[in-house]
Symmetry: C2
Amino acid sequence: MNGSGTAPTPSPRTTYRRLGVEERRTQLIAAALALFAHRAPEDVSLDEVAAAAEVSRPLVYRYFPGGKPQLYEAALRSAADDLQLCFAEPQTGPLTGRLSAALDRYLGFVDEHDAGFSALLQGGSVVETSRTGAIVDGVRRAAADQVLAHLRVREPGPRLRMTVRTWITAVEAASLIWLDEGKQPPLPELRDWLVDQFLALLLATGAGDEQVSKVVRAVLSLETPEGRAGLLARRVTPMLSAADHLL
Amino acid sequence: MNGSGTAPTPSPRTTYRRLGVEERRTQLIAAALALFAHRAPEDVSLDEVAAAAEVSRPLVYRYFPGGKPQLYEAALRSAADDLQLCFAEPQTGPLTGRLSAALDRYLGFVDEHDAGFSALLQGGSVVETSRTGAIVDGVRRAAADQVLAHLRVREPGPRLRMTVRTWITAVEAASLIWLDEGKQPPLPELRDWLVDQFLALLLATGAGDEQVSKVVRAVLSLETPEGRAGLLARRVTPMLSAADHLL
């Protein structure tokens, strides 16, 4: 409510002092993640992180005495926390709608973090350790658990677990390929394709596994003609005429 | 034809002298690969490689002056050459038969190299460099090219390329999960499941892409009722009754 020009604009120094410990930490991690989005972590210096956060290099060291490896791990953990939330979706309605919403969040994260996402997942980074590998594996496991929860299966057998883990890897691989191909096709198309893939994988696996076969029936019973499964079913049917000689 | 006991048994030293440069190199790489199969490359010392090959440590250094990183890279390149041959299969007969033969070789390689395969592909190894990453990527690209050749597509569109690359990643991921789960299920089951996955992925992708749709029809026309596609089609059909409301 101050009239413009009457109150002094807070200087960076004032802002600097005002941030609490957690806020400052969060700010430094955000600055690091923003830089990792455009360059590989090994090419980003602590000086650049300090400059981006408008603080001194010693301040960065106060928060991350272990230097870049520690900051990198903290940034990775923060990104992992965000990624893990992607698949947390209310367990109501058709599965394809839930997966679509989850993938929109996941792919949005990929889009935003760009090269940083590749660096995190592809490894080969000089700041990579067995601990950072464990964080990435943790994200995969959490995503798989959430997908299994959506399938309402309490005790998933080996084949169902393998199917879900394989699909999670396919999502990851497709995301990396998507970045590699200059973000083509548009995200909604990529999302729909990944949802279709999941249905197709479930169906193919259900052909040889009783538990997965039951899951498929339960999943399909919740789908609607307007949804992704309906569209896929109507589009696949004409192609199947080429399989008549196999039945 | 010598009577046993009359000719002197060749001593290791004799064998040592007889090997040519290429043979010796191949032998050292084989020894390294055998050790990597049971332990991570970073836990294997050059002394152990020398002992396994029954040669001195200086001899190993004569062939690999760069020490372990160089030996590791040579071993990786040798493994990559073997892996690249897996998908080279005559382009005749039903696709599922060709993929099955290729996967039998690929999965046989995984089975034989065990932990070494994980180390190669999962990264996170301290001896990993951007060059070793490029070798692994080269295997993936070669496998994708060979699968595309089996589909008899000269100019694959982005969706078809993405489908094949995603499947290659799924094969890799499933192999790692298979090792992780104590080599369960038996290899032939894993192979059949991966072949089924490929058909399912093609079908789901063909639903939204004209080129892939044509590939699906061409692939199915070559399949026989006794083959994998026939079995899959007959098993999936009953499940699809749960999708009648979507058509």
